[in-house]
Amino acid sequence: MFIITCPFCGERDQSEFAAGGEAHIVRPKQPTELSDDEWADFLFMRKNIKGVQFERWNHAHGCRKWFNVIRDTSNDKIHAVYKMGEKPPIK
């Protein structure tokens, strides 16, 4: 149970949030132009690493806003939180 600093509401308990998987996967603008493999890559392939990971989180029981989190999955340490559309502040 970690604490997440929502960029809109501040520090809140993890139980207020919903995880949304890997961040920075952009929905292709022209899906019909993609091969099956390329589409499958967008649709199914997600990283699940032990270490620093870029993730989407939603303040589901709060402001309902989506944002990005950089989290170390090995110890749940959160390195940065930033809004949708912003560039990652580190790396």
């Binding site: 604490i3 949304g20 952009v26 019909t32 309902r64 989506w66 110890n75 749940d76 949708m84």
Partner: protein
Amino acid sequence: MSENFRSSETKFLDKTNRISFIYNGKKYYGYKGDTLASALLSNGVHLIGRSFKYHRPRGIMTCGSEEPNAIVQIGGNGSFTEPNVRATEQEIYEGLEASSQNCWPSVEFDVGGINNFISPVIPAGFYYKTFMWPRKLWYSLYEPAIRMSAGLGKSPTQPDPELYDHNHLHCDVLVVGGGISGIIAASISADNGNNTVLIDDKNSLGGSTIFQDDENFKIDDEISSVWLNNQIKNIKNKKNLIIKQRTSLAAYHSYNYLLARENLADHKSLNERANKLRQRLWKIRAKKVILATGAIERPLIFNNNDRPGVMLASSVKKYIDYFGVKCGNKNVIFTNNDSAYETAISLNKKGINVTIVDIRGKSSSVLVKNAKDAGIKIYWNHTVVDTKGYRRIKSIQIMEMSEDGTNVIGSKINLVCDNLSISGGWTPMVHLFTQSGGKLKFRDSDQVFLPNTATSDQINVGSCNGDFELDDIIKNTISDCKSFLSSSSTDFDLIKVSCPKQKENKNVWLLPNDKPLGKTKPFLDFQNDSTAKDIKLAMREGFRSIEHVKRYTTTGMGTDQGKLANMHALGIISETAGVKMGSLGTTTFRPPYTPLSFGTIVGRNVGTFFDIIRKTPMHTWHENHKAEFENVGQWKRAWYYPKTNESMNQAVQRESKAARESAGILDASTLGKIDIKGTDASEFLNRVYTNAWSKLGIGKCRYGLMLNEDGMVYDDGVTTRLSENHYLMTTTTGGAANVLSKLEDYLQTEWPELDVWLTSVTDHYATASVCGPNSKNILKKIFPNIEFNDENFPHMSFKNAELDGIYCRIMRISFTGEHSYEINIESKYGKSLWEKCMDAGKEFNITPYGTETMHLLRAEKGFIIVGQDTDGTMTPIDLQMDWIVSKKKYDFIGKRSLYRSDTMREDRKQLVGLLTDNPSEVLEEGAQIVQDEKKQPIEMLGHVTSSYFSPNLNKSIALAVVKNGKKLKGQKLLVPMKDKTIKVTVSDFIFFDNKNERLNA
């Protein structure tokens, strides 16, 4: 009981408060403050239970939460009973009932004791190896027999009547453990201005120092117990310090989130605790945590080291010094270190006979000198090779150890005793530290695992950090707390401590014996009956990883999580395999630290508080009209309305017929409703639904199908264009919240450029759906100002309206295939709307119908229900709904996936209708469908998704998903049931009015 073992005065118990309790049907007495263990010992009772596997008699070993043997059943039968309670932690109260576990017919004579004699043929892995064949005997013989003998206590048979509670707690500093280091840490923290919480699992603070009256241990020239007692009085007056006693930490999660159970009533009599909270689970978020969890004494591993009367030396000291109870009249102390000499000296001072057996050759500690001066006989360089006595230890045999400690030499010496106190050194309690993600390091000098790197803001102080001498404990606690809390000075800066120092360490994990290992029983895990032999057997069979050896031998897998056993298991593995202990690592310590009852975990979330119950505004009407209810998500929906003596089937048949013949009314308030506004609302709907929305006229309704990005049907519903940039979307009842989340996700992350605003209005409007040939006539009566002809108000359109001055929305849409209207009104008027419809419909025999009839009526029309006829693997093409998938639109959610090779396969499971050859036979939903019953293995083609007897067609109908179903129309298939096989024919899935003539009837 003739003899009283309460030998000395004690200031820790209230001697004026004598308490009676029942143990195994017999009445005993103790004092307020006694644990069940100390009270039983004071009555001379040592035999508590039978061991798990061999049913050997077992007694009290310890005085705390690490107790492996003395676990009992508390309370009588029924709801108040609780199994596996540690007698060493349970305080006695007037009328307490406790009984032994794992024995039949009694703890004194236990039939299962036969296992002890056949133990050579039931080694580790016995069950895995033996009950493999013949296979068919497993269910009929092996499993029932093993089940009967497995398990320790008995579960309650009734619901738990006690009250439990959850509470949140936020603090600057949480100190865990109320021993001397915890007291000092809490004091420093509070003085430094931190809001501090100190928790301790016992009923009195002070750990083991509070009864340390030995002159050798002095703090600021006072005896250590006196000094500590003053400190405890001191901290109780500190304003920013909360002290929680009888509170044990259950779990330590990351980010300093901790769970602690506060025991509020388990020490009170049933009368005193009536209608009061039993336990409270504290959910603690601390900025900083100081763990002062202490250390537990290690046993020694030798032959027959498990008899009642074999106890940890430090516990024997607590029983005599704290509870005033002697654990025996003739005591032998068996040790490898100096700390056990404190026990010997305590006993000796109280005039109790004591002898010491020490595996070391000598020690220059002052404690040893004191023991010698007191005339205590010490056998240096000796080990215990056997013990005698079945229900209580009677004597031990000792032998001299060889120089290297691997063998015994000389002849046996027999020592008569009724108590054997053992001490194998100390193990720091690092469980909580590792739960939080902390990593350990190994200290070779005294073979202990210590906290190394922490992942959260916390420190460990005292013996849990590897300090075992009083001066180290105090000085390091003070300096560590100062730097951790950035405190420049404390009350303890000039503290003076004097204490004896530990001399000459000697550690032997498995003590030598004159007999071969195979002929001895050196127990490691007392609760699970695993011995050193089992560990060695596992290693001979190729197990190397500590985690594997643990599971194969079950070492450390009891309710005590092997608090006593694990270090010795590791030690023996490391010796046998020739691997350094530090590199072996430990098994994982998991929460809870001590077992939690289910009641504590669920708190108040029981019964009606288990989940939210959502009711529509018309709910009381349904109740008053005897509706049966169905749970749909959190909603209670009217299921059907049985008349007197009517079965569910009869009610549904009647409701279904009435709806088609004249008029029916359904409470549709639970359907999800999402209000969509914005200049890009039309474009947004184009992207989320499979069909086109740009050309939908204002005031018109359209059915939409929503896919997941993988092309599978996700939700469906009718959306109405209320004005140019304003839509009202309806979703399935169960999908409402998820659909809103999904749409928000796309809006915020993929299409932030769209000007669209979503608001859930599910609870804001109540909906009554009136259907049937007379629905128009009913609405005319309620809304006289609206023209209900097909030109002015055609199917799939909407009108604003007023009912007694209250705004309404009327949609002419149909889920039954009948001419039908849905009226939306502000929730608080929902019931009066419903009653108005019932009044106006009376002359047309308007019949309220529930969800079951709704399902039947739509199945007659072949309308799908997302989640019943689909399961996340159905595309719109599979559902034969190609017509709703726009070919022209460039993109929508899931479009690309409809062109993947897998989704384009022609032999996917597809939605079809099924007609039974015998028209009165109704299929079971979920039944499997096959073509050929004889071919083995039988190929499963699909399953029945919806099935009803249609009163309007007078035959059985079903929807099903069947492999390659589209091409199987007209073919015969089989539905094999338990007692028969039903023949069916694949049909069209629209069974009724397939020209939609009734919509405009």
